[in-house]
Amino acid sequence: MPRSLAPWLAATALLLAACGSTPAASTADPGVPQPGGTLRFAVSSDQGCVDPQQVASNDTIYSLRQVVDSLTDQDPATGELRPWLATSWESNADATAYTFTLREGVTFSDGTPLDAEAVKANFDAVPRLGPRGTLPKGYLAGYAGTTVESPTRFTVSFDRPNVQFLQGTSTHSLGILSPATVAKSDDERCASVIGSGPFVIESYTRDESIVLAKRPGYAWGSQLWQSQGEAHLDRVEFRIVPESGVRVGSLQSGEVDAIGNIAKQDEALLAAAGVQLLGRANPGVPFGITFNQATPLGADPAVREALSLAIDRAEIVATVYTSQTKPATSALASTTPGYADQSALLAHDPARAQAVLDAAGWLPGPDGIRVKDGAPLSVELTWYSNSPANRATVELIQQQVREVGIDLQLRERPISESNPIQQSGQFVANWGNLTRADPDILRTQYSTAGNNFFRLSPGPLDELLAEQAAQVDPAARFATVAQAQELLVRERHTIPVVVLTTVLGVAADVQGVLFDASSRIQLHDAWKVQP
């Protein structure tokens, strides 16, 4: 590819990402999909388990998503749910029971039929999953049982309203596995699973590769796909390459066709090599700072407001992140259904930050750090190195807020300590994000009825979050969710900063790599230009 084309390619990818539309991969004229070939995809890690219901890392989800089908599929452009294994579904008035109608003729790759009994077996087994099964357990919160009415009709019941369950059915976490797989123990399922998806697991070598082969005769694809039949690719090889330099080099030299986790410093290099850079903002809670409101500083609204006003989000994005990354504009990322823009409340205004602190009695001290009643305005920010850009981001924020007299102390902790730290409340402020393509993530994060890691006081926010969890009508629900976002941002219960954006590098001859609503990939429509 001529060098001069590279900027155009990057621009095209950027434009497409900005639209947030479905076809992520596309150069000038992709032409008609060609069958056959092997796609080689390098990812950075192996979770050590090939059961889609028990994995949470994107690197592993990329491959296992292809092995299972889901009851529904979520349109990445609109957030709406569309038929996949289920042709239709309805909920009762208070969102405690959902009745699904399955399409007929679907089989698992071991030949057994995918019917209502199989779905029931899957859901019944979820509460028995061990510590790896956190995601599906959350989707099935309050699960009371599944009643089978016919081989193609069943009802899932809950002991409390559970609107987010429907979106959960579209994820890999509630992908349907064969009854033979479900009957095995959770540990055994980590070694091999049988699904009904467009690909089957051909081989799994721990820390080395997950190889998928096309499922012949597949004919029950999601309605969101270009075709519902067999996949175009014969095989997909996911190679586990932990070193980012080696991943980038492999893609440049043509040893692989696609890689995940592109960093800012690799962008120009890959674009110049003619690689397509596909990006999509992760839905859910953007990266940001959330205070522990049981601490004196976290309970002080002036401190929270001044910190938010002192942060220059545009500078952070431009300095640290890939070109497709955007500043956060709400308590939810823009790709989350129900997102409502709150950017007016998230302006960068250091002068006002100073005024807010002055008014609250935080006055400049001798070294520039503000002081009140003899105590310096020193905020400890706990952060984790789970995302490579985190260090540079929190260090830049530290510099920015220092200018209004806030001393941000950075405290890095290993990711394994995140849960104990949040549960025990031994933090003042926390840097983090969460990926979920449903606004219910706000309830699990900020409702005082839940874990309440941030020690919020009960208030009107609780009512809004509980209300949306039971609102069956999406329009009414999103209106409630919008109010909740406004309240969260206005009260600075959370200070959103930047929207984590997934960026993949894909070779120029690969087409049809699609992002799903959770910003993970769907490879059914992917194909390679054959030489």
Partner: protein
């Protein structure tokens, strides 16, 4: 070689293994958090489980027991070779280690060959040559090789020989070609160690009276160097073998990551990352066993090679 000596050595070996087990247990328990909470946090993306469900999961892995009871149970099971199942992926710990072992053995063995060839030839040529500049150059090489970061050497080799020249594959463990670059990366620092020890003992051996005797009898320089001096100088090099094996095992962590090879090193990194207590302990005890066995073997072989060294001394 007396039976008592052997018995004493075996007892000491058991002591070392027990210490390795106990220290790793204490360290893993001193860390805040526990593997169940870590796994359940789903890499921070999942909805956190309620405390009562976490407690139920802890009970499943015996993590709800008092620490001393857990220690006793694990120690008893470990004595029978049972280290339990990995919390991360549910695999039997012994099976996981045995599965990861062959690729690590491959690069360790290949790395050892590189180390001996590189270290041996540098030491031999450096002590043999009469050109002062060459000798000084060669004597400086080991310190240079030992101070280069393994990580950096590996990435450099990948960039030049895999991506640049396309001579070798950059990733994977398939075939002998994939073994070349990792073996060089792993063998360089270890070879530097071998070169330093061997060069020193060769220089010393060449000053011994028997060399003068050999020279007086008319043995040529190559003969003296290889047949007389090297034989004696090789013994001190042999004693660092235990250390060399340790180097190779430790180096496998970095080399397996850079070259994307499965093996013990990668297994260790993953297990430590999620505080997978059974798996980490299994690996620590296994590594300790290898150390103990290699050192024992060196001590037992030594008197056979050098009759002057008695086992009881």
């Amino acid at each position: 070689m007396t039976l008592r000596y052997l018995l004493r050595r075996l007892l000491a070996a058991v002591g070392v293994l027990w210490a390795a087990f106990t220290v790793s247990f204490v360290v893993l328990y001193l860390l805040p958090g526990d593997p169940v909470a870590t796994m359940a946090s789903g890499g921070l993306d999942g909805e956190p489980l309620p405390p009562e469900e976490l407690d139920a999961l802890r009970a499943r892995y015996g993590l709800d027991q008092p620490v001393l009871v857990q220690y006793g149970q694990r120690l008893l099971a470990a004595v029978t070779g049972d280290f339990g199942t990995s919390i991360q992926n549910g695999q039997d710990v012994r099976a996981a280690i045995l599965e990861a072992l062959p690729p690590t053995l491959q690069i360790s063995a290949a790395g050892l060959v590189v180390a001996v060839l590189f270290g041996g030839s540098v030491a031999l040529v450096a002590t043999y040559t009469r050109a002062l500049w060459l000798r000084q150059l060669l004597m400086a090489l080991p310190s240079l090789a030992a101070s280069l970061p393994v990580f950096w050497v590996g990435l450099l080799l990948v960039q030049v020989f895999a991506f640049g020249l396309g001579l070798f594959p950059s990733v994977g463990a398939n075939g002998p070609a994939a073994l070349v670059l990792p073996a060089i990366t792993l063998g360089l620092p270890t070879g530097a160690l071998v070169a330093q020890v061997l060069a020193k003992s060769l220089t010393q051996a060449l000053g011994e009276p028997y060399v003068t005797t050999a020279r007086a009898k008319g043995v040529g320089r190559p003969g003296i160097h290889l047949r007389h001096a090297l034989r004696n100088a090789a013994l001190p090099a042999l004693t660092v073998l235990g250390y060399v094996v340790g180097n190779l095992l430790a180096g496998s962590v970095v080399v397996e990551t850079v070259f994307t090879r499965p093996g013990l090193g990668r297994l260790t990194v993953a297990a430590v990352g999620v505080q997978d207590i059974p798996l980490v302990q299994g690996i620590v005890v296994f590594a300790a066993t290898v150390f103990v066995l290699v050192n024992l073997a060196v001590d037992l072989i030594y008197p056979l090679l050098d009759p002057r060294v008695g086992v009881t001394s």
